[in-house]
């Protein structure tokens, strides 16, 4: 399509010349494009997933045989802590946010997120927080207090190394990135839907990201304050979690789980969204009971804040509290079950194509239901009293997080890879990887149920021989090798797909939502024309208007953008600089160097003004060849 560029004159107050390069490393550091940031999120989360896999592998090798001495207890503690923190905060959650970055604007027919520079800032802060956490291996010791970091284990007297500081400060800073991205997504989804896209026409993945974003903005503040309190205790000698001064360590548990349980849904609701896209596409049917799926998601969002104490049944809250939280935990199973039946109802009677993506979706259904059932078991306080802190719990949440969220994201990866790269992944390698990965996953985690029921405690470096734990642990370790083959094949398939995958075309799956109506990969400006939506599954209705309700309805269409053309916001280096200032702040605080802290605050202050005064900038693309300035002309300070 013939487009020409009209440059917006930048305000004269910029500090540096505005970056405009479209290739090279600077273009990635300064990008504000949601698609590039989405790819950065996905790439970075895979890097962290690799690190977490190495840690998991070491844990399993240590536990392969009783009395093993591969890892010392101290190193073992560091490994399971870093594995948990990495998978939850740096791998799975950002993977969902990465998909959201890429596909929420495309699914609702928007040009970008509402605040492109804030979006870039969110990514760089996440990357900086993760980098900060991993430098603990070189600049002291990695955290070794478990991913839940219960007080008073984290007090300075109980934990004098700086590992706990890395945990507290790293999560605090990384959380800022997650918070601003969630706020950005809410504004985007509420306000930037294409004309005609009412809330009940919004694709389910986008809907689930809206619920997830609300969970983030309400759940992260309690965690942030709790982290802040421990940082204050360790840095300035306050008394929040000092029992000798009257402080109550249980307060940490409450604050952590008021965050921690919604966090489970922050991870798994985007996965539900992905599944709700994949299953209809490969069953050639609209999602069965769309409004019920949406309402169940909202209900899960609300109930997610009402179940946190089921993580604390054994702390002695009393029978009344335990009963109440057991009941709310049962209730939250209902909307989840409803969704499962909706997915089954979608497959039922559909013309199912068993692509790799669909295989992962089906594996998700089976594995997630198994994790859900053990969840219901754990919601019974007497059962929980027996199985608390055993491998039964480990098996449960790995079935939910790994078998649930991760398998769903792999389904999403195979589903959306052609859109992101313009190329298809190889189905034969994909299916081979699948048949290693999913059975491997079950081989790792299913025996852990049994080990747990036999009393094997989690977070313990070894076990003695002769009490029946050898076989489940050996099987579990064997499973890691099987799954490893699957993961390597998956990576091979990704690289193979990028390098020499077959061209995908715009809509290889004959799918239903708007992202498939633009080219693969989408142009920088996403859509040549403004999509206009007249029904759910807008792209499907556009393709097959007669198939909806058995009669012709007005097809969803598109219209030219208004005469100003398509606005592409200018690139900016300040989000990156701002995130780096926060990184400097983190190290200053960690090493108690308050000159560095002061310097970083001054930098943050400076970059805030530079950011604000720089303005949005950018240029306009004029469809059909306008008469703007020629392409080479750039916005300059």
């Amino acid at each position: 399509m013939a487009v020409s560029k009209v440059t917006i004159p930048a305000p004269t107050s910029g500090v540096f010349t505005r970056p405009t390069s479209e290739t090279g490393i600077l273009s990635w550091l300064t990008t504000v494009d949601h698609k590039r940031l989405g790819l950065l999120y996905i790439f970075t989360s895979f890097l962290f997933m690799g690190a977490a896999s190495v840690e998991a592998f070491l844990i399993r090798l240590q536990l392969a045989a009783p009395g093993n001495t591969l890892l010392s207890p101290d190193v073992y503690n560091q490994m399971f802590t870093m594995h948990g923190v990495t998978m939850v905060f740096l791998a799975i959650m950002p993977l969902g946010i990465g998909f959201a970055n890429y596909f929420v604007p495309l699914q609702i027919g928007a040009r970008d997120l509402a605040f492109p520079r804030l979006n870039a800032f969110g990514y760089w802060v996440y990357a900086a927080g993760g980098l900060f956490l991993y430098t603990s291996f070189f600049l002291g010791s990695p955290p070794d207090v478990g991913w839940v970091a219960y007080a008073p284990l984290t007090s300075l007297s109980n934990n004098p190394g700086n590992g706990t500081d890395f945990y507290m400060i790293g999560l605090l800073v990384g959380g800022i990135g997650t918070l601003v991205t969630a706020m950005n997504l809410i504004v985007t989804i509420v306000s930037m839907r294409a004309p005609g896209m009412t809330m009940m026409r919004v694709p389910v993945f986008t809907w689930m990201m809206l619920v997830t974003s609300f969970l983030i903005i309400f759940a992260f503040p309690p965690l942030t304050i709790a982290l802040f309190q421990v940082i204050m205790d360790r840095t300035f000698g306050t008394l929040f979690y000092v029992p000798a001064a009257g402080g109550m360590p249980i307060l940490w548990q409450h604050l952590f789980w008021i965050f921690g349980h919604p966090e489970v849904y922050i991870i798994v609701l985007p996965a539900f969204g992905v599944i709700s896209e994949v299953i209809p596409a490969f069953s050639r049917k609209p999602l069965f009971g769309y409004p019920v799926v949406i309402l169940s998601g909202i209900f899960i969002g609300f109930m997610g804040f009402a179940v946190w104490s089921h993580h604390m049944f054994t702390t002695g809250l009393g029978p009344v509290v335990n009963t109440a939280f057991a009941l709310t935990s049962f209730v939250i199973g209902i909307p989840t079950g409803i969704k499962v039946f909706n997915w089954l109802g979608t497959i039922w009677g559909g013309r199912v194509r068993f692509t790799t993506s669909m295989l992962y979706a089906i594996a998700f259904l089976i594995t997630f239901v198994m994790g859900g059932i053990t969840g219901i078991m754990l919601a019974v306080p007497p059962f929980d009293a027996q199985s608390h802190d055993t491998y039964f719990v480990v098996a449960h949440f790995h079935y939910v997080m790994g078998g649930g969220a991760l398998l769903a994201f792999f389904a999403g990866l195979y589903y959306w890879f052609p859109k992101m790269s313009g190329r298809l992944m190889d189905e034969r390698i994909g299916k081979a990887a699948f048949w290693f990965l999913v059975p491997g996953l079950h081989l790792i985690f299913f025996p852990q149920h049994i080990a747990g029921l036999m009393g094997m405690p989690r977070r313990t470096q070894t076990y003695v021989a002769g009490i029946g734990l050898e076989l489940p642990n050996l099987l579990s370790t064997a499973g890691t090798f099987v799954m490893l083959v699957g993961l390597v094949l998956l990576l091979v398939n990704i690289l193979h797909g990028i390098a020499r995958g077959k061209p995908a075309g715009d809509d290889p799956w004959d799918a239903r939502t708007l992202e498939w109506s633009t080219s693969s990969p989408p142009p920088h400006h996403d859509f040549d024309r403004q999509p206009v939506v007249n029904d759910r599954d807008a792209h499907w209705v556009q393709k097959y208007p007669e198939s909806v309700h058995g009669e012709r309805v007005p097809a969803s269409a598109s219209e030219p953008y208004d005469r100003a053309g398509i606005h592409l916001p200018g690139q900016s280096i300040y989000p990156f600089f701002m995130a780096m200032s926060l990184l400097v702040f983190s190290y200053g605080l960690l090493f108690h160097n308050f000159w560095v802290v002061g310097l970083s605050v001054a930098l943050i202050f400076f970059f805030t003004y530079a950011w604000a005064l720089e303005g949005v900038g950018g240029h306009h693309l004029q469809a059909g060849g306008g008469h703007g300035p020629s392409d080479g002309e750039e916005a300059r300070a």
Binding site: I8, P116, S191, F218, F220, D562
Partner: protein, 206 residues
């Protein structure tokens, strides 16, 4: 605030894209969402204060240090600043720029007076032996009111920046969204203070 073509600036505060299903400025929605989140930040801090209330093992205790008349004055000043905030926004909407500048300065000035009171109060309390590390009351009191003080400080800096910017690049009623979000923030910080004043100060003397 950059000079963008007319149709793209139909809604102020827009950073990207064109059509807006709600017709609301993005920055206004963003501020509401941020404030919803900030409720949870303060909620957690106030919750911590309440959980630890009466659990200090050594003094000074709240009734030994808190001075209701003094803090009532500073609370009144902060509340009046919210009144000036409304006047400033009203003046900007009516393109009455001198009044907009006067009232905006007034808000920042009253905010600064409040901060002055808080600095005096903190110094006075430390003299009375209440420290961050001394007892749980000190720990929770300073962290809660200090966090609020940081919010007020940011608000004062923000409003003064708006004031200075209005001389660099003349403001008009078209820019009202930028003042309105600052106003939303300011009113919120005020409301939080009313809760803190009640929960921390007044409750001790019921």
């Amino acid at each position: 605030m950059s000079a963008t073509p007319a149709s793209a600036t139909a809604i102020p505060g827009m950073e990207s894209g064109h059509y807006r299903s709600t017709k609301l400025p993005d920055i206004k929605l963003l501020m509401w969402v941020f404030l919803a989140s900030d409720v949870m930040f303060f909620g957690t801090l106030i919750g911590t204060y309440l959980v630890y209330r009466g659990r200090s093992l050594v003094g000074p205790f709240p009734e030994n240090v808190l001075d209701i008349p003094l803090t009532t004055v500073s609370t009144f000043v902060l509340l009046m600043s919210s009144f000036l905030m409304v006047l400033a926004l009203h003046a900007l909407r009516g393109d009455d720029i001198p009044k907009f500048r006067l009232w905006t300065f007034g808000v920042a000035f009253f905010g600064a007076i409040f901060l002055g009171f808080q600095i005096y109060e903190f110094a006075h309390f430390v003299d009375l032996g209440l420290t961050l590390q001394g007892n749980l009351f000190g720990t929770t009191f300073y962290v809660l009111t200090g966090t609020h003080g940081v919010h007020v400080t940011i608000g004062v800096i923000w409003l003064l920046s708006i004031l200075v910017h209005s001389y660099v690049k003349p403001w008009s009623s078209k820019d009202e969204a930028y003042l309105e979000v600052a106003g939303l923030y300011w009113h919120f910080v005020d409301i939080v203070w009313i809760v803190i004043f009640t929960v921390v100060y007044l409750v001790e003397f019921v």
